[in-house]
């Protein structure tokens, strides 16, 4: 990744009058963590980075702006937001465009081709973690961990995030600026997580998910972090009528998780954020990927690729499969 | 609310209920009496306090007690139809039961105010917590130097406790000023906003306590205007309202700055409140 080019482009973009800020990455507070950066002026672009730690999906922030009532006479800030987008971030942007969650003219996409991101928990598990800042770099084929004065070679598959192993679109699908060269796409690994579950019988799967969903603490981080969960009025916060009780038990947790997954069927762009942030380690990605595959195979639809597509659940084809109908 | 569990409510039967205003967000007043005679006798609230009233199966809501303890062994609540609980409350009629626990919060220091002139400035449903003061002062009129009431609403139909004002304006030991925002037929009182009316009346701050309650925007301008009239911060009281669940300082959500509205409030002197920016959020 050419940081020089990134910062130069970023400086150029944030200097524009019609740009509010740029959402990118900066160093985090400890270890090899990174944190989202909101860059408002050209002087701050120096803090921008792009490294294998930038696993999260920044497209979330496009729809996370709370709209508070404005004092009389003030107008909403209609300036554009610039976004550093990997392959998966850009797919989220496209899907938001499809759903008219955002408008194309409101966003500037700075495409960052992505050679694959690390999973921090895998890294910490295998190579330890430190309070002191460290850095992970791409070194062509694998990763290098720079910690203290040491450089540790890390085989790619040791710490590669699951979503990246399965990734089919590492390059941004839309962009206004492209930083560096497009990366060579790799063959997605077989989705063994979903495969293993499919091999079980329905009761076996029920037991598996009961174990998982029972742990859910309903912190809603999966909902909040998801770039495509952006309803102003979420069914989960509704009290009247209360579809899903707020009580935390297996029944309500399952209802919550099914509705979350259902609302993302045909929309999920498989960025794996829900699974990454879950403090209870529930493999939410498996459900999402299963649904994404069903949609792909049965309906021939893949979300987040074509900004002019019809939203999957708000459209139909006369010849949709109906073998399940009595 | 039993001795060992403050979350268990008492049951109270609605003796009478009537609509104060109409419309989508209509206000209904309930006059309720506790089922348990022991509770009826031991219950002792002060003007300004609130109670958690609710309907089993729907939930509870913090509502100010809109009657003075001097009125009798009953409670009055004026409830605006807003959310899940208040909608359920509005379905109740005379003879139905509601749950009540409390009284919660601090109260207006009416005893400390003896010998002073009392000025209440209310807007809309904000008159509900002020009514106990008015009633309390009315029944202990000799202990107070004066009582002036300013009360306004959007329209004549939005005024609460209408029936009581005629009688009040006939008394010569207190003055009652009503106002509505927009002129309408058959209205022979003032027309204009409450803060403006306050300026027009120009009450003297001397030996006076001003108490205000109403929509946040009204409170803001009333406080400004009181300042213009020369009221010091210590002379001005207001009440706050936030979302509440427990009413006893446990559930955490009602704080404005370091003040828990359910326990440290709802009544605040402006001298305390002015240092808490969140109170005016």
């Amino acid at each position: 990744m050419d940081l020089e080019q990134l910062r130069k482009t970023a400086a150029e973009v944030v200097a524009r009058d019609d740009v509010k800020y740029l959402i990118g990455w900066k160093k985090g507070s400890y270890g090899s963590r990174v944190a989202p950066a909101f860059v408002e002026d050209a002087a701050s672009v120096i803090e921008l980075i792009f490294s294998p730690s930038c696993t999260a999906n920044l497209a979330t922030y496009l729809t996370l702006v709370e709209k508070t009532p404005l004092p009389r006479g003030q107008e909403t800030d209609k300036r554009k937001v610039a976004l550093m987008a990997k392959g998966c971030d850009s797919r989220a942007v496209v899907q938001l465009l499809v759903e008219k969650g955002i408008h194309r003219e409101d966003v500037i996409v700075i495409g960052c081709p992505c050679p694959g991101m690390i999973d921090q928990s895998l890294l910490a598990g295998k190579y330890g973690d430190t309070e002191e800042r460290s850095e992970v770099r791409w070194n062509g084929k694998d990763f290098t961990l720079v910690r203290g004065g040491d450089e540790i070679e890390i085989p790619r598959n040791d710490v590669l995030a699951e979503k990246c192993r399965l990734c089919r679109h590492p390059n941004p699908v839309i962009s206004d600026y492209l930083i560096g060269e497009a990366v060579k796409e790799w063959d997605p690994a077989e989705d063994s997580g979903v495969g293993e579950l499919e091999a079980k019988d329905v009761d076996g799967r029920g037991d598996y998910w009961e174990g998982q969903f029972s742990r859910c603490v309903r912190c809603y981080s999966c909902r909040n972090v998801c770039p495509l969960c952006y309803c102003q009025d979420c069914i989960l916060d509704r009290l009247n009528p209360t579809w899903i009780n707020r009580a935390v038990n297996f029944s309500e947790n399952t209802a919550f998780n099914i509705s979350r997954a259902f609302h993302l069927a045909g929309r999920c762009i498989e960025c794996g954020e829900c699974e990454r942030v879950c403090p209870a380690n529930i493999p939410l990605g498996k459900i999402n990927r299963k649904m994404a595959r069903e949609v792909r195979e049965k309906y021939g639809f893949e979300p987040g690729l074509d900004p002019d597509a019809e939203p999957f659940q708000a459209s139909f084809k006369p010849d949709d499969p109906e073998d399940f109908i009595l | 609310m039993t001795a060992d569990n403050p979350y268990i409510p008492y049951f109270a039967t609605i003796e009478d209920s009537w609509f104060e205003t109409g419309g989508d967000r209509c206000i209904k007043t309930f006059k309720v009496v506790f089922d348990d005679p022991a509770v009826r006798d031991s219950w002792n609230h002060k003007p300004g306090q609130c109670a958690m009233i609710g309907v089993l199966g729907e939930g509870e809501s913090m509502i100010s007690i809109s009657c003075s303890p001097t009125e009798g062994k009953f409670l009055r609540f004026s409830v605006m139809k807003m959310g899940k609980v208040t909608q359920a409350l509005h379905k109740l009629e005379a003879g139905d039961k509601m749950t009540v626990r409390g009284p919660y919060g601090n109260s207006f220091p009416v005893d400390d105010w003896q010998g002073k002139k009392i000025l209440t400035i209310g807007g809309g449903i904000g008159q509900a917590p002020l009514r106990p003061i008015v009633e309390f002062v009315k029944s202990n009129r000799e202990k107070y130097a004066g009582l002036t009431m300013i009360y306004g609403a959007r329209s004549a139909g939005d005024l609460c406790f209408k029936g009581e004002f005629d009688q009040m304006s006939k008394r010569d030991d207190l003055s009652c000023h009503l106002t509505i925002d927009i002129e309408e037929e058959g209205w022979d009182h003032n027309v204009g906003f409450v803060p403006q009316m306050l300026l027009d009346l120009n009450p003297s701050p001397e030996n006076t306590i001003a108490v205000t309650c109403g929509p946040p925007i009204m409170i803001r301008f009333v406080l400004e205007n009181l300042k213009k009239l020369g009221f010091s911060d210590e002379q001005v009281y207001t009440t706050l309202e936030n979302r509440m669940k427990c009413g006893i300082g446990k559930c955490g959500r009602c704080n404005a700055g370091c003040m828990y509205v359910c326990k440290d409030g709802p009544v605040f002197s402006y001298s305390v409140l002015k240092d808490i920016p969140e109170a005016f959020a």
Binding site: E131, Q212, V217, S221 | G57, G257, E278
Partner: protein, 335 residues
């Protein structure tokens, strides 16, 4: 008293019949769970993912049951004694801290009863985690506050020190497994835990923060630190001192219950009035409230910081919002 590690399985065995809860691996993380017959308890863990506050303040608990149209209310029976084995000192301290709130003027019967039924057997930290900062906020890797019994891992044995009569009773019950401690053991302990304290790298300088925080009300700092917040409840649900709850009625047919469940100040609807007005409308206000509540309001009311430095919110924040970093910035602004 000393417990040789060879006797450890026997010690656990003795407690198992008594509703013993200990950290168990669930998913990829540790969580307190009931230990069944014949199970091994391992104390090889940093800290549990979800704090043990749930044993006294469950995520969802029934306050009372009733039938619609009936004035009869049944309260739950909370008379089940429970032993928690391997509680970290920070989590035990947190229990003591939130107990102050649950005793504030009105006694909270549910929390206090459940707390009374608990025996907390602590385990001092030999190897604190990388985001631990307990010494900065009044704790220590071997703090006994809130515990009934504290165990120190001395390598081949546990040094057991009772803190309360409950702890003493537990020691008395298992006395045939214990040997008297000696001066050496105490010396080893002191050395070990001085070292453990020294391993903690992260620090918070809270001097002046409780008084100074309200003065930073409109500081640009809050927008800066909350910009990346996604508004989830990870930091608050996993916080051992967060105690906010919501009360909801649940109805199934004519059977109903009023129950309470954890709530989080990071949720938008937490302070949302029915009118649509929100006193904390954006993540800026909500983040500000979280920090203020822990480091200022609670100090104002109960004279103790409502943060025990367990580091969970730092470890688990999806977007690396770091309370130590926020407090560093607060301190900077104050100077």
């Amino acid at each position: 008293m000393l417990l040789n590690k060879e006797k450890w399985p026997e010690f656990v065995e003795k407690l198992i019949g008594k509703n013993l809860w200990a950290p168990k691996l669930e998913g990829e993380a540790m969580r307190f769970a009931l230990v069944a017959e014949g199970e091994e308890v391992s104390l090889e863990y940093g800290n549990t993912r979800v704090p043990p506050k749930g044993t006294a303040f469950p995520q969802t608990e029934t306050m009372y049951r009733f039938q619609l149209g009936n004035t009869d209310m049944q309260e739950p029976k909370l008379e089940e004694e429970r032993i928690l084995l391997g509680v970290r000192p920070c989590d035990a301290r947190a229990m003591a801290i939130i107990e102050k709130l649950f005793r504030w003027d009105y006694d909270d019967p549910y929390f206090l009863k459940r707390r009374e039924m608990l025996t907390l057997v602590g385990l001092a930290c030999n190897d604190p985690g990388l985001n631990c900062f307990c010494p900065s906020v009044g704790g220590a890797p071997d703090s006994a506050e809130g515990l009934d019994l504290l165990m120190y891992d001395l390598g081949d044995s546990f040094l057991m020190e009772s803190v309360t009569t409950k702890g003493e009773a537990l020691l008395a019950e298992t006395k045939e497994l214990l040997t008297d401690s000696d001066a050496d053991a105490v010396k080893t302990k002191e050395k070990l835990f001085a070292d453990a304290g020294a391993k903690i790298k992260r620090t918070v300088d809270h001097i002046g923060i409780p008084e100074g925080l309200p003065g930073l009300w409109e500081d640009p700092l809050w927008r800066r630190v909350s910009a990346s917040c996604i508004g989830c409840a990870t930091c608050t649900y996993l916080c051992p001192t967060c105690h906010c709850f919501d009360i909801q009625d649940e109805v199934e047919g004519f059977e109903a219950r009023r129950c309470r469940m954890w709530d989080s100040c990071m949720f938008e609807e937490y302070t949302l009035h029915t009118s649509g007005h929100n006193t904390r409308p954006t993540r800026r206000e909500r983040t500000r409230n979280r920090i203020n509540h822990k480091y200022s309001y609670y100090v104002d009311k109960f004279d103790v910081i409502a943060c025990v430095g367990c580091g969970r919110c730092i470890n688990l924040c999806p977007v690396n919002i770091d309370i130590v970093e926020i407090l560093r910035q607060v301190k900077e602004e104050l100077q």
